[in-house]
């Protein structure tokens, strides 16, 4: 039996762990309650691995394409049962990351783990419990959904009855039940997308890696996918979701990573991100049409940085402090202006996204 003191990576508390060489011991940090696994090397000295229930773990991942750095030393993790939103403009490196996580690309350097298994070294084991949808995959258009899905079911060692039952189940989820035995070649783009999603969830995976899953879907289809993601989250499925649709990400994700130019720009929970957004705009509506004199009076209020009309509302820019907002309202009424509505603009991810990205990027 040997003892080893290790440092908790979150709270830096020193924790002592005991075990035999080659043995893996579960440890709980007394301070922050994070669980970890410790494997003692056979040489009795070093700790081999430390993991904290991260289902996906990416360490210093870099990918070069003919001299172009598509991914630049990125690191992040996704915890069990979490939905992580992966957001960024076109060319940010989202799909490259997903392809590295699903063994479609080989990293230039760095590591990607799923369930503590190195995807690059042991893809067959790492991808066993993963369902994925990457870019817009081609579909075998001369087959029927049943024929295509049956093959993927067999790859996951599902038996015949299980395959038949699950095919019906997933096709019902993606609203393709009536098309089970019709040729895929006659499907619309949206239907093909739904079928690809059905393939991703066929084997009830523990981890879902989805790259822009709602592309090509109508609003109803988007809602269905959103509901499906929430359903899987309630079942404890870990979801890694790349998307352009910030509202979708806000609706479904626990945490967001913003990626740009192959680098992680920032990350945090939805709440943390929204708290970081500085609200510096007030939307005001007046009862009467403003005269030139009224506008002059408003512009002369020292707390107001700028004042302009937009979509029937007047937008006031200020320093973002609540007390300043209150002062502005007081001064407007003191000027004799009849205010119908007065509200600070709500924080949204789009504003945050625009504020952290360099220039105009493709956000929907």
């Amino acid at each position: 039996m040997i003892s080893k003191t290790v440092e908790c990576p979150k709270c830096k508390t020193h924790v002592t762990v005991q075990g035999n060489p080659g043995e893996t011991t579960v440890l709980l940090c007394p301070n922050c309650n994070i669980k970890g696994k410790f494997t003692f090397q056979k040489e009795k000295t070093e700790i081999k691995t430390i993991s904290y229930h991260n289902i996906i773990e990416v360490k210093k991942l870099t990918k070069m394409f003919n001299g172009f750095k598509a991914l630049d030393n990125i690191s992040f993790n996704v915890k069990k049962g979490e939905i992580l939103g992966f957001v960024g403009p076109n060319g940010a490196g989202k799909t490259t990351t997903i392809k590295l996580l699903t063994n479609l690309l080989t990293p230039t350097s760095g590591l990607a783990y799923i369930n503590n298994i190195d995807v690059n070294k042991n893809p067959t084991k790492a991808l066993l419990s993963v369902g994925s949808l990457i870019e817009v995959p081609g579909i075998y258009d001369y087959l029927t959904p049943h024929e295509m899905l049956a093959y993927f079911g067999k790859i996951h060692r599902m038996n015949k009855n299980e395959i038949n039952q699950k095919i019906k189940e997933v096709l019902k989820i993606v609203k393709l039940s009536e098309w089970e035995h019709k040729k895929i070649g006659s499907f619309s783009t949206g239907m093909q997308r739904r079928l690809a999603i059905a393939k991703a969830i066929l084997h009830s995976p523990d981890v879902l890696i989805l790259d822009e899953p709602v592309i090509g879907l109508d609003p109803r289809g988007i809602k269905d996918i959103r509901d499906m993601l929430k359903h899987f989250k309630s079942k404890g499925v870990t979801i890694f979701l790349s998307s352009h649709l910030l509202n979708e990400v806000k609706e479904t994700c626990d945490r967001i990573i913003f990626l740009d130019g192959g680098k992680v720009v920032t990350q945090g929970t939805i709440e943390e991100i929204l708290n970081r957004i500085k609200i510096d705009t007030i939307e005001v509506e007046f009862l009467n049409q403003l005269t030139e004199v009224d506008i002059k009076k408003i512009e002369n209020i020292p707390e107001i940085n700028s004042f302009e009309k937009e979509n029937g509302f007047f937008k006031i820019k200020f320093d973002g402090k609540p007390e300043t907002s209150n002062t502005i309202l007081t001064k407007l009424t003191q000027q004799g202006l009849k205010v119908v509505s007065f509200s600070t603009k709500k924080a949204d991810l789009e504003s945050f996204y625009v504020s952290i990205m360099n220039d105009e990027k493709g956000v929907m």
Binding site: K99, E135, I155
Partner: protein
């Protein structure tokens, strides 16, 4: 499937088997199989039906009839090889179906080997059908005793040649981006380029034993009815015809089969799904 239940090797073979079945299903579902089927039935039937219609008899011997009939099996082999193998790997990359397939928990080499075997099986099936029809024709013209050991030897050589053809096209499919390119390069290499090189070698009086299409001649040579070869420079006629040697030919076809299959697997395995 539970991670701990995954058994390397055993599961790789199982995945390979599943890929073979899936590829066979894809071959059956595609209309291109009809083209091959029509050729495999039509060519031997022409040799059976046309001579009586033109008022001509069949060859004197069963092997003679087989030799003229099987002289065209080469075309079927090249066509089948190109059709069933040309898109086996390049198609997954070009059509992006690889995004579905390669992200599954199976070794890429299992997938590619399964695809290769499925192409070999499909090609063998049509070659077998061609020989079956030819044998039935021989039985109806010359009696069952007309189906000789030499025809069986010819059949085995045709299967070996088919496998080497599949390996060649498989190699091109593993390195080329577009399906149409890999299919056409394989097709024209076997049908035109290699035979032209053989002809050039022959004119230069160099034995083209290393060229796989030259050894394809063994398929009919083993029937023992061809008298060509061996007549050297004579007065006013100085063309030398090189007959492929049986064992050398088998070795060359086997070498093409193994080397190009393995190279194809390595090249395909290294390709990224960009």
């Amino acid at each position: 499937m539970d991670v701990n239940r995954y058994i390397p090797g055993v599961d790789d073979f199982k995945n390979m088997y599943l890929t073979i079945k899936f590829e066979m299903l894809k071959h059956i579902k595609r209309k291109r199989i009809l083209v091959t089927l029509i050729l495999a039935i039509l060519i031997p039937l022409i040799f059976f039906i046309v001579p009586p219609l033109l008022g001509q008899g069949y060859a004197d011997t069963a092997n003679g009839f087989a030799a003229s009939n099987l002289g065209f099996v080469n075309l079927l082999i090249i066509l089948s090889g190109a059709i069933f193998t040309g898109d086996s790997i390049s198609g997954e990359f070009e059509n992006k179906t690889g995004l579905l397939l390669f992200s599954t928990p199976q070794r890429k080499s299992s997938i590619f080997t399964g695809k290769y075997i499925a192409s070999v099986i499909a090609t063998w099936l049509f070659v077998s059908l061609y020989y079956l029809i030819t044998s039935m024709e021989i039985a109806s013209i010359y009696g069952a005793s007309g189906i000789s050991v030499e025809i069986a030897q010819s059949f085995l050589l045709a299967l070996l040649y088919s496998t080497s053809v599949v390996s060649i096209v498989f190699f091109f499919s593993s390195i080329m981006k577009r399906t149409i390119t890999s299919t056409l390069v394989g097709f024209f290499l076997l049908l035109m380029i290699l035979p032209i090189i053989t002809a050039v070698f022959t004119v230069a009086e160099v034995d083209p034993w290393l060229i796989v299409t030259h050894n394809e001649g063994l398929i009919t040579d083993v029937l023992g009815t061809v008298n060509g070869g061996g007549f050297g420079p004579g007065q006013g006629f100085n063309l030398t015809i090189f007959k492929p040697d049986l064992w050398s030919g088998i070795s060359v076809m086997s070498a093409y089969t193994v080397i190009l299959f393995l190279t194809g697997i390595v090249m395909a395995d290294r390709r990224n799904m960009e």
